[in-house]
Structures are given as structure tokens and as C-alpha cells.
Amino acid sequence: MFSIIAKSLKTGLLTETNPFGTHPSFGFPVIDFARCTSCEECARSCPTGAIATATPAPGLKTLSLSYAACIQCRECVTGCPEQVVGVSTEVEIAAYSREQLTQTASFDIDPTTGRSTFSKVDVLPGLSLRESAARLRERIRGRLGRSLHVRQVDAGSCNACELEIAATTNPLYDMERFGIHLVASPRHADVLLVTGPVTRNMEIALRRTYEAAPEPRVVVAVGACGCSGGIFGEGTYAAVGGVDRVVPVDVYIPGCPPRPQAILNGLLVAMGVREARIGSEPGR
């Protein structure tokens, strides 16, 4: 008994005052579209199709980068011959829709030389982050107050997201000090924290868990798989894909897996305490 008390006293307080204060070495890729030649090397090197190109009209080409599907493998960074794909150290990324996690740029193609030149970063249709934030606040109307009860549902994850969710409860991050508490049943939950490319075999269980949670039930999709199906794809014999294919999703936390501070940030977004960010300069 004495040794236990001695150990506790000797260890002291480990919890970090600001869990968002750490500076990780790697976040998400950032394409400097103005210098990009749209050679498509990054799209070819991407294992999940997070970077994709399209030719919507003759003489026009688009290049899009979706953080929803990005597994942060850095292949696009090393694969870019022009070295215009950089890395940001921003990891506390969250959004209210898949579209908000996507950036698209248009390129004009010269019909004679075939060379493409950057024309503009496209504005995607849909709500802005601010409009979505207002809509979510309206829906929860302060009913969650300063306490949030969270039920985690693994709907097909590889378990990496679970490891990082569990890490948010360790003494260093100590999620409970923000009033966020993990509960054992969906019946006690305000929020469902869902991971995985929802598998065929978890689809029904996820629907039932969602139905068991009381309104206003907020759903947070965690990880590249939860946001988009990730490396496993969507609509396969074994997996449906992103969580939003099965239940409505309020907040998306991308990453493979998202770091603990990103998960914490996403939950604060779901509470309406923070507003979602998709980078230092959202651009929309």
C-alpha cells in the first residue's frame, strides 16, 4: 500500500495543460496548386484515390485532394517530380461534410502542346464550415451543455483508431477534464464515435446502435476508413464504406489514424465548443 502511494506521489501530475500544444512532425499533404503542372504522378502514387484527376470538359482538367481518404502515407510527397506537394503539421482537422475535406483546382490544357496551366482553386458547392457549424449548434441547441457522453463503435476498423481513442483517456491527454466521458451503452450516449469502413457484418449492428442512442444523437466518423472507406474502398463485397453510407454523420475526423489531439478536437467540435478547421487557411 505504501509503495503505491509513494509511486503516485513521486509521479506527480502528468496531464498536459494544453493537449493541443504538441507539434507533430507530419499532418496532411498540401498541394501548391499554383506551381502544379497536373502531371498526375501524385494521383498515380496515391493508394486510396485521395488524389484524383478528371477532365470535365475539353481543354479543362481538375485535380482534387481529399483528406477524407488520405492515409498520410506520404507517397504523393515523394512521388511529385515538381516537389509541389508539401506536408503541413496541422493535425487537428475536422469537418462537417466529406466535401469540406476536399480541395479541387482547375487547370487549362493547351490544345496544341497539351501542357496544362493552373487557373483557379475551385469553390465547391455545399455549406461552408461556418454555416455547417451554425447548423450543428442549432441541432444540439446547447442540450449537450459542457458534458458529453460518448459511445465508441468499431464498425470495421483495423484497431489503430481505437488505440488512439483509448490514448485520449490516458493521463497525458486526460479527455475527461473536458467533460467528455466514454460510456458503455448507446442508451447513455450523446455521441457515437464510429470507426472503420462499415463492414457488411457490422452494418446492422451500427444501425441498431444508432437507433438505440437518444436524440440529439451526434455521429462522429473517425479515420480515413470512417470518413471514406480508406484503403479498403467503398461498395465492396465485404464493406459498405464510409460511416455516412449507413448513418448520418455530423463531424468527420480524418487521418490514419487521427492523433489523439485530433480526436479530442473533433469531439469538441461535436459539442459545439470548437469550430471545425480543415487547415490553417480553409480557403472556403
Partner: protein, 527 residues
Amino acid sequence: MTSTSATVSTALGVTEWAIRERRPGELVLETDAAALPALADRAVLHLNGRLMSLFASDERSITGRFLVHHVWFLPGVRTFLHISAPVDPAAPSYPSIAAKYPAANWFEREVMDFFGLAPEGHPNPTRVALHDDWPDGAWALRMDFPYDRAVPRVPGDFHPFRPVTGEGVFQVPVGPVHAGIIEPGHFRFGVAGEPVLYLQLRLFYVHKGIEKRFEQLPWRHGLFLAESISGDTAVGHALAYAHAIERLADVMVPPRARALRVILLELERMYNHTADIGALATDVAFTVPASRAQALREGLVRLQDQLFGTRLLRGTIALGGVKCDLSPQGCDVLRTHLHVFEKEFDDLITLLIDSGTFTDRVDGTGILTNQAARDLGIVGIAARASGVDADLRRDHPHDAYEGLPFEVPVEDGGDVRARLMVRAREVEQSLLILHQVLDAMSDAPLVAQLPDRLPARSSALGWVEAWRGPCTHWVATGDRGEIIRVKVTDPSFLNWPGLVHAVPGNIIPDFPVINKSFNLSYSGNDR
């Protein structure tokens, strides 16, 4: 003809030329399906063979037939023995070995579920991987089954569990959505009061079609898929896949990369063992060591982030080498951290085993006997905690483990305490290994060049003793060097039946701590 293949052919009673050493440490034998049971008998009786994997492949488009594969590890001669036998698509069945070797039980049922090949004489030829709403006659791993086919659900009732009868005897269903932050699976306990009479498992809730997905992705991208087989074994599975590809392409990994791979694998072992030890304390509500272990684990994970830019060691393994390096300063940071960690870890273990309230819960709880572990073909930490002295790092070394002096801790108890102690002693050995490797790092390139294309119609086995146990990947290529089959075997697949044997006789409140002491992967099992 090598002496190994001569020994093996004599023991198996086959002509010498039938056995080929396809690659170092990997013997191949092609035979008739009818000969499989006799060969299994001889492999076990004369060579102490341990079944590491059993699977099928669909080669109808190439040779017009299916193949059934048995992969044995032969510890005495330090080699794998890969036996394959053709199965005629017109008569899709082959003789089962499951009645005699229970390790084959799930494997053969999985072959039936995904290929439609029936194991003749299997004592329980029911579905293991497919759930009840999957239609008969749709075999997902056959080559002509498209990956993106949405298969309609068969309407129907719930799974028929084995009934319990008798006064005061009832069932407790748990899952698939559990109370903690863990993966989904269904446990059905038959209980009489508190003691558990038996446990039925229902898994494959997180079956994502990974083996099929490998066939869709370019082989270089398969590495990222391998990292997502089981999130806590990113290095183990990525390395097993990389080994298979490197052996296929006949590429030698540079020495510095081999050393770094050992460092990564041992770090993965340490952070997982530390987390598991903490989780055992959590499950018996012993909060001080639990939170100490969590902090130690977070320290390791952050160290990994600092050194390699990744918390869970994703993106560290490259095909042909590694993607990250350690500078001399990085080596010093690692050494310093390990010194502090060693002392703290020691304190943690002392705190646990000196406490009667803790040992009272773990001593004699969830015993997996040595006999059961051997019969079931249990691997990894769970096997070593039941007195089975097996570790591929020593018995068939990969990367820089060859010639590295270290001990393989073995405990005889087979209980939760033994599985805890194996972990604790393995962490000590990991520290020893890390210091040795750090002191002997050579200057060399980090990656060997791989060819643009893999050799056509070839195959290779990759293996790794990861923290939980051996991970094996068998990779086969088609006419254009494209991947036509990847068989992934996670140690969890071999060990789940061990849990079923360790639980009966214990009380339900002890189940979490027994389960955690095995800490098996659902995702790795279900794929």
C-alpha cells in the same frame, strides 16, 4: 539437393526429388490431395511440425484447378514446409486433417466459406467466416468473384447457438458492440451461476475483404493495406508482406535496413506489451499501475513520433528496406529513453506482482494447459506462457535476428499471470536486443532496388515473429507478375480457439482479464 530436403523427404517418406527448396528456409512439395493427411501425420510425428497456415488458391484460369496449401513449420530443421495439392473444380473437395489436428479446424472451414472447397471428414463442417445472411454458392475469394459485388442479404433468423439445458443454466450474450473501446465480436457464455460452462465465439464482424483487396491493388500499394490488417501490428504485417515480396523478387535487404527493422519490431513489441500490462491492471481495477503503464506506453509512442514521424510506426517499412533512418543523435535519444523506461517498467512490474489484490486475480485464472496449447497449435506469447518454447526470431530468424543473443522467455503456468510474465520478460529482452542492435549499426543504404515487375507465376512466403506471434504472408503472382493471391495469417486466427479453452471453469467477471491476457486481434483474425 540440400541436406535439409533429404532429411525432410526421408521423414515424410517421399522421393527426394519431390521436395524442392524454393527459397532458403522454404521447402515445397506438390502432391495429390489424397496424400495430405498422411503427410501431415509424418510432418507432426517425425519433424514436430506445427501448422502455421492452411488455405486455398484459385488457379483455374492458369492450370484449370484449385490448390489447397498446408504450411508447416519444422523447428528441428529450421524450415517451412509448403505442401500444395490440386483440387478438381468438378469435384471440389479434399481430405480434412482437422479431426486429428485441431489447428486446421478454422482454416478448413474458411477455405469452404471463401472457395467452396469441402473438407471431407471435418468434424464440424459449418461456416466460420461467413455470417448467416450470406447466400450459399457465393465464394468471395474465387477469382471470378468481383471485389465490388454487393451480395444481397439472405433474410432469416439469428445464428443457431449451441443450446444450454438444465436447472439454473443459462446463456449470456455479449457483443458485437462491446462496452469498452475494443473491436467487435460476439461471445456467448453458457453459465451455471457465475462459473462459465463453455464459451462460443462468433467473429468476422470486421471482415473487410483484405485478401481480395490485395488482388486489386498494385503490389507496391499492398504494403499500406498490410499496415492496416491489424492496427497494433503495423510493422509485423508490413514486414511479413515485404519479406514475401523481397523473396519473390530475389532482393537482398541492406544490413542497416535489417537492423532498423529489428528496432521497429521490438519497439512495437514494447509499446503493445506495456499497454497490455496496463490493461490487465485496468481490468482488475488497480488504477495506479494502470495509469503508470498508460503513461509509459504514451512515452514510447511519442518517442516513435519524434524519431520516425509516426506514432504507431505506420509508413516505416519499405519494400526492400525501410523508409526511416536513425541519426547518431536519434540513437542517443532512443538509448536515453530506454534507460529511463527500463527503471520505470521494473517499478511497474514490482508494483503489480507485489500486490496481493492483483496476484489474487491473475494467479490460476484462465489456464491454457500445455497439452491444449500444443494440440490447438497455439502460437506466440500465449503459447510461450503455456510452456511451448517457440519463437521464429530464434527458430527461423529474419532480418538482423540471426546470430543475435537473446532469450525466449517461457512460463509454465498457462494462466493470466504467466501471460503477463512472458510479456514483462520479453520487454527486458527487447531492451537487450535494442541496445545490441543500436551498438552495431552499419552504414549502408536503407533500401534495395526492386524490379518494376515481379516474376510471373511465382510465389513466396514471408514470415515475422511480431509481438503477438508469427504473422505469415503467402504471395502468388500470375502470368504478368501481378498478384493473384495473398494469404494473410495473423497469430490471432490460431489463438482464438485457445481462449475458448482457457475460459470454462472461470467466473464471468474474470473473462475480461483472461481475454485481455491473450489480447487477440479481431481485425487480424477477420481480415
